[in-house]
């Protein structure tokens, strides 16, 4: 589904401040994979997403989706099949517009023409879909999104992203800015939607337990490389302790607990 071959990303290349954030990365994500990604700050997780979504272009290497080389495609072109959700709940919705307008905008991807698609049928469809969130949003279609809480906005963004039927969905710590209760609601919804629509998903998380509990493959990144890659049966047997032990084995560093590791 997604193939990254020999990807490098160097910031400020050719200057004294040159910094390699991704080092010769090779990665192959299969269709219907649900990959969780962990790693400390500066490990290159978000850069990896930026490279996949086209927000950044690699210094070396190629990005392919399906059989197509998309290395030089602009972000908006790739967005036709990639759905990305950010940590900041404000980035997924337009706050000065109503719920129904927001849902209409994201309902279909690609350039829009002078057609009025928001009608009674669409509204009742949106209402029905919003019921799944169990947040009472189905009665607030005409309200501006700015009136919703962060958790509600992120849940709405998630639903909107799923309804736009992307082939790949990138979740960039999408629950990190929420309070624990809302974070777990949004995480449960995420797992439910991914299963329902069998979406190919990559999820960055700062929560090791989430990374272990969800998905069928786990990547740990450090210093711009994937240092741990666990799949299938082996992943099911993972625990936080095992994961830290694996990390220490590889990096020969001593870490007391995951707090230090992920600080």
């Amino acid at each position: 589904m997604i193939q990254l071959s020999n990807i490098s990303k160097i910031f400020n290349g050719g200057t004294h401040n040159a910094k390699t954030v991704i080092k010769g990365l090779n990665l192959n994500i299969e269709k219907n994979d649900f990959v969780t990604i962990i790693g400390s700050n500066g490990a290159g997780k978000t850069t990896l997403f930026n490279l996949i979504s086209g927000n950044m272009f690699p210094t070396n290497g190629t990005v392919s989706v399906g059989d197509k080389d998309v290395t030089d495609d602009a972000e908006y072109k790739r967005a036709k099949y990639i759905g990305r959700i950010f940590q900041d709940p404000l980035l997924g919705t337009a706050s000065t517009m109503t719920l129904e307008d927001n849902m209409m905008i994201t309902y279909k991807k690609g350039f829009k023409w002078l057609k009025i698609s928001l009608n009674r049928k669409k509204r009742s469809f949106f209402k029905k879909e919003l019921l799944q969130l169990n947040m009472g949003l189905e009665n607030r279609l005409k309200e501006n999104v700015s009136l919703l809480s962060g958790g509600q906005r992120q849940a709405l963004t998630l639903l909107m992203t799923v309804l736009s039927k992307p082939e790949i969905i990138l979740l960039d710590e999408h629950t990190a800015a929420l309070d624990p209760r809302n974070a777990s609601i949004v995480m449960d919804l995420t797992a439910k939607f991914i299963e329902q629509h069998s979406l190919t998903t990559m999820m960055i998380t700062h929560n090791m337990q989430h990374a272990i509990d969800y998905g069928n493959r786990l990547l740990m990144m450090d210093g711009g490389e994937v240092i741990i890659d666990v799949k299938g049966e082996k992943k099911k047997q993972l625990t936080v302790e095992k994961l830290i032990a694996m990390f220490n084995d590889i990096r020969k560093k001593d870490f007391e607990n995951d707090e230090v590791l992920l600080a």
């Binding site: 967005a79 990305r84 404000l90 980035l91 919705t93 000065t96 905008i105 350039f111 829009k112 002078l114």
Partner: protein
């Protein structure tokens, strides 16, 4: 006299709708307006002078404005120049272009050529007075434009403009190029502005390349005045209040022009008043926000 305020308010209201589109919906503060307004006026004037007809003149004036908007958006998109600078560049270049359009003249009187005002006066002669005929005509024209804009903002494309001004990332995420949308948006906005300029020239009886000086500020003042009148998130109300704001603005300017001499004010002070109106509006809006936060 009162009809005059309304007619002027309605004509400038079309321009204010254009300013509202860029400033409020697209969040693209576009200064091209100062050049595209007189551009509409001079294109119309030249068309009328050459007997090309009112209808064709209106279409060409609108198209000229759209082109001017395209240029600004293209400079902003391709050269990664801030919107304000892109707008000033186009506006400055338009000054020379407008003089070119007028064949190296700075103004052109329209008193003796057939234009939309003489056309209305002719058609309604003996039925109602000229002033009321103008008023009815412009109410219809502005309502039509407002209605078309309202429908436009309800289309799938129109909704994207709202999102673009609010959250550009969201537009990118939908697989839509923000650059293309900015071209369309700024183009349409300047088309409206030029249309307003075309009507203004016929109403004033002349086209002048200096007609647009500071016009963007009067448009902005109209938009802001309107915002004090009604609160809403419905697009039909938003466009209505822009037009009401433009009429209110013209009324204030009228007061300044006719009663200003009591406080030693001259028509030359009107630009200062426009600017102060914007500043006061900003001040009140800020004050309301602060008050809203603390309560």
């Amino acid at each position: 006299m009162l009809e005059g305020i309304f007619v002027e308010g309605l004509i400038y209201g079309i321009m204010a709708l254009g300013v509202f589109f860029t400033f409020r919906i697209l969040d693209f503060p576009d200064l091209t307006v100062d050049g595209s307004f007189p551009m509409g006026a001079v294109i119309m004037a030249v068309c009328l002078e050459n007997n090309m007809g009112i209808f064709l003149g209106t279409i060409l004036a609108f198209s000229g404005g759209v082109l001017a908007g395209f240029v600004t958006a293209a400079i902003h998109n391709k050269l990664k120049v801030p919107h304000l600078l892109a707008g000033i560049l186009t506006m400055t270049m338009l000054y020379s272009i407008n003089i070119r359009i007028l064949s190296n003249r700075a103004n052109l009187p329209l008193m003796n050529v057939k234009n939309v005002m003489s056309f209305i006066a002719e058609k309604t002669e003996g039925i109602i007075s000229e002033e009321y005929a103008y008023l009815i005509f412009f109410i219809l024209i502005v309502l039509l434009i407002k209605l078309l804009l309202d429908i436009f903002f309800h289309t799938d494309m129109g909704l994207i403009f709202g999102a673009l001004g609010d959250n550009q990332q969201m537009v990118v995420n939908q697989g839509i190029s923000p650059d293309t949308m900015k071209m369309i948006g700024v183009g349409l906005s300047n088309g409206l502005v030029a249309l307003s300029g075309a009507f203004a020239a016929q109403y004033l009886g002349f086209a002048d390349v200096n007609l647009g000086q500071g016009i963007v500020i009067s448009g902005l003042a109209s938009v802001m005045l309107g915002e004090f009148l009604i609160k809403s998130n419905k697009i039909s109300i938003l466009t209505l209040r822009v037009i009401l704001g433009a009429i209110l603005y013209k009324a204030i300017m009228y007061l300044g022009r006719f009663y200003g001499y009591h406080i030693n004010m001259t028509p030359n002070d009107l630009k200062l008043i426009s600017g102060l109106l914007v500043i006061v509006s900003l001040f009140i809006a800020n004050y309301k926000k602060i008050k809203g936060r603390s309560s």
